[in-house]
């Protein structure tokens, strides 16, 4: 066996080990350990990707001395390697982008605990990507949930405490349902590892025994993962969670944590139950409809938000809807589009949250739309990053969002009964996306207050106002409404060096996904074929 095949084990254990030792280090050292760990994981995953891509086969790796039905096991092919590489890149960039805010938002004696949570999140993400065992999946879902709740809470701010309780309650319901589903599946097949469980499911489907518990188990697993990743009717925890956490936490939670659950769900569909079974049980249809509803409702809710951070969070609801819509279409191409959209959304959402932090700093810590006006001039790099992110979300060519929309549209063609709704909602959702994202882009690039009045404006006593006087009056009015007013001499806000680097790299990543999508989609497709 090639030495490269040990890398998934090493990367999982390395991230857990760094979490353990970070709990006794100082915040500064914990930060270094975290960064080194993520870089090493990135290197190892890249090595694995190169190797698995050249061999083109999936490998099962025993976790211990006992083979499949008895011992734990992980399994990896091209798809898992792509996801691991991509997740570690996004994790690294989110860490860099929010680093200075971590030290500002977190109590200074507890900063090392933040990195403990980040390391644990990383290990659980990797384990969920690689696992070939349903129960291992559950254990790491738990770790991920608790670590995520900690990441939200660590700001110790009224809003974030409420958000974390809400997240914990919703997520625990999800975990509970997943555990019930797992117990049912174990009760009727007697297996916990994915491949033997698939054989068990196969036998049950042929004999027709226990058909109701089998369907129930699949249904409960889908609902559990839908709750945890925030599909439309279960999305209520999303806006507070993403909107009030510290930057790195928002970026990691929105772009990685919720995606890992979807990857686990896809794995369960493809590897355990078989996609055809999920289709026959109408579960895919339900997901399809919920996905479509989420695409519209998420955007509508986003349009109604005044706070831009919450608007970005609501946009996540819509994007999760895209992914479930692709799952619901039920073809290989659609599944691949969903996987690509997982990457697109992860790259773009983390970028939006980081750039939003930059814009917020340029607007006196406020994130309502009126305070943000002109912020693109006060913090040019963050403005450009936000612009690129918004265009990508809307689906501008050359950016990754365009490719995923194209892939979804192509995949929808020819799927009987689902083609028309998918295409129509895709178009509608694009327009809605454009409405709220471009509105913010226009706001951040329009100067505060309006410049000169169009017509002659008169004050109370009937004198015609000069433009300067008009502006003064406007500013005074805004000030009484509690809107942040930038100093007139357009003070530039300096981003930290790490944050600037992160924003530039995030833009490059987005362009890379948009311009070189060919090899990535090929690798995803190849990985998907050996995924089952």
């Amino acid at each position: 066996m090639a030495f490269v095949y040990n890398f998934p084990l090493f990367s999982i254990i390395l991230s857990m080990f760094s979490a353990i030792i970070s709990s006794v280090l100082s915040g500064k050292w914990a930060k270094r350990v975290s960064l080194i760990m993520v870089c090493l994981v990135l290197l190892m995953s890249s090595g694995l990707l190169v190797y698995t891509h050249s061999t083109g086969e999936a490998v099962t790796y025993m976790m211990g001395h006992f083979p499949a039905p008895w011992g734990n096991e992980i399994r990896f092919g091209v798809l898992e390697a792509v996801m691991a590489v991509f997740f570690s890149i996004v994790m690294l960039l989110s860490l860099l982008g929010g680093m200075s805010h971590v030290f500002a938002d977190v109590e200074d004696t507890k900063t090392n605990l933040f990195f403990v949570l980040i390391d644990m999140t990383m290990s659980s993400l990797l384990a969920m990507i690689y696992t070939n065992d349903l129960f291992t999946g559950y254990v790491f879902v738990e770790i991920n949930t608790i670590a995520a709740a900690g990441l939200i809470m660590i700001r110790q701010h009224g809003h974030s405490l409420v958000a974390s309780i809400r997240y914990l309650v919703m997520s625990s319901i999800g975990s509970g349902l997943f555990l019930i589903a797992l117990s049912i599946l174990y009760g009727i097949t007697g297996e916990l590892l994915m491949v033997p469980a698939r054989d068990g499911v196969q036998v049950l489907r042929e004999s027709g025994n226990y058909s109701l518990p089998l369907l129930l188990s699949l249904g409960l697993m889908s609902v559990a993962m839908a709750i945890k990743s925030g599909l439309y009717p279960f999305h209520t925890w999303i806006p507070d969670t993403y909107g009030y956490s510290t930057t790195t936490a928002s970026a990691v939670l929105s772009s990685l944590v919720s995606k890992a659950y979807i990857i686990l769900l896809i794995k369960i569909y493809v590897r355990v139950f078989g996609y055809a079974y999920a289709d026959a049980g109408h579960i895919l249809n339900v997901l399809f409809v919920l996905g479509l509803v989420a695409m519209v409702m998420g955007s509508v809710e986003a349009i109604r938000q005044r706070d831009v951070n919450r608007m970005i969070a609501y946009s996540s609801v819509a994007q999760i809807g895209y992914i479930y819509m692709g799952l619901g279409l039920g073809t290989e191409a659609a599944l691949m589009a969903s996987l690509f959209h997982i990457m697109t959304h992860a790259a773009t959402k983390s970028m939006l949250f980081v750039s939003m932090t930059g814009l917020r700093e340029a607007s006196g810590g406020k994130t309502d739309r009126r305070s943000l006006s002109g912020a693109g001039y006060r913090n040019p790099l963050a403005g450009i990053t936000f612009l690129v992110g918004s265009l990508s979300m809307v689906g501008f060519p050359m950016l990754s969002g365009f490719i995923s929309k194209l892939l979804f549209a192509r995949a929808a063609i020819g799927v009987s009964g689902k083609m028309l709704p998918a295409l129509l909602v895709l178009a509608l959702s694009t327009i809605l996306n454009a409405i709220y994202f471009l509105r913010v882009v226009i706001t951040i690039y329009s100067p505060q207050g309006s410049d000169a009045p169009l017509d002659n404006v008169m004050d109370d006593e009937g004198h015609v106002l000069t433009p300067e006087a008009y502006q003064e009056a406007e500013r005074a009015k805004l000030q009484t409404e509690g809107v942040f007013l930038a100093p007139k001499a357009g003070a530039l806000v300096k981003n930290g060096p790490l944050m600037s680097v992160a924003m530039v790299l995030m833009m490059l990543l987005n362009f890379f996904l948009g311009l070189c999508s060919g090899p990535i989609t090929e690798a995803l497709l190849a990985g998907l074929r050996i995924f089952g």
Binding site: H65, F135, I143, Y210, P213
Partner: protein, 315 residues
């Protein structure tokens, strides 16, 4: 003729009625109660007042209606889910039936070959610490991450810049448990026994029912009893935040390293070089004994840490 009992106020019936009506607290004066110190003056910000009116169901009709609808629909949803699950139970294989699918070759092998392959007489321990050790490592990390989260929320750091200028001494006194002679005498007898029993359960995890999780919980309960009887000054002579950190980090690191070695050799089909020993002997079954000790220490520390954090926000 109406007759009124002379000392009605002292009768049992009167006291009982008062208790039923909620006018008397029977435990008053018999328990250790921390009375929150009164604030100097109740000042409510005007916007807070407004918020209170908005969120007060008696003043906000819309909220009241929503609350009712919310309660009714959540009840309905829960009942529906319960109904579905109970209904599905009828279709599940009978518990303990010989023909149940769970009684297949997978489970059979744990029973038939477990002793030979893991060296553990207790199959359950053999399963969780050898066959499925990766899951168990994950479970220990769940405990670890849970303590981290509780620390974030509840740990009071005196040297934190967030606490500058706040009083911390005033609260110290109220953490001291009451001097309860009965509790102290009883725990003098019980605590050593509990510790010995817990350690026995941990060390014999591979030989008899028990193991790290259950033994650790027993030791942790003993520690909590001890601190309740004698106070934090006594426990801090041997168990401080530093001890907690050292024990947790050492145990989990050992677990991580030992299991990485085991996974690595297993997956690469290398011999481990760890002897399994004679089944039934205390020093047997390879790594299971040290791993049980690690898990036990982590669990005991976690239980005590939760208690200490909730009680006084630190060790």
């Amino acid at each position: 003729m109406s007759r009124k009992k002379q000392d009605y106020e002292h009768s049992f019936l009167y006291h009982f009625r008062q208790w039923v009506a909620g006018n008397v607290d029977p435990l008053e004066g018999t328990m250790e109660i921390r009375v929150p110190q009164k604030k100097a003056a109740e000042t409510v910000a005007p916007d807070l007042k407004q918020i209170r009116t908005v969120y007060d169901p008696s003043k906000n009709k819309e909220l009241k209606r929503f609350n009712r609808l919310y309660k009714a629909s959540s009840l309905l949803l829960v009942l529906l889910l319960m109904g579905v699950l109970i209904w599905a139970m009828g279709f599940m294989p009978e518990i303990g039936a010989e023909a149940a699918p769970a009684h297949n070759a997978t489970a059979g092998r744990y029973v038939e070959k477990g002793l030979e392959e893991t060296g553990a007489v207790n199959f359950v321990t053999g399963m969780i610490l050898d066959y499925r050790a990766f899951d168990t490592f994950g479970e220990s990390c769940v405990l670890f991450i849970a303590t981290i989260c509780v620390q974030i929320l509840l740990r009071v750091d005196k040297d934190s810049s967030w606490r500058k200028g706040r009083k911390t001494e005033e609260a110290e006194d109220s953490f001291r448990p009451g001097e309860d002679v009965v509790l102290q005498k009883v725990s003098t007898v019980l605590v050593p026994l509990i510790f010995i029993f817990g350690i026995y359960v941990i060390l014999n995890g591979h030989l008899s029912p028990g193991g790290g999780f259950s033994g650790g919980a027993i030791v942790g309960a003993g520690l909590i009893l001890y601190v309740n009887a004698f106070g934090f000054e006594k426990t801090e002579r041997f168990f401080t935040g530093k001890t907690f950190k050292i024990i947790t980090v050492a145990s989990l690191s050992f677990y991580a390293l030992a299991k990485t070695y085991s996974f690595y050799t297993g997956a690469n089909h290398l011999p481990t070089g760890i002897p399994l020993g004679v089944p039934g002997a205390i020093l047997s079954s390879g790594l299971i004994l040290p791993l049980n000790i690690c898990v036990g220490m982590v669990v005991a520390c976690t239980m005590y840490a939760f208690y200490a954090l909730f009680r006084k926000g630190g060790f």
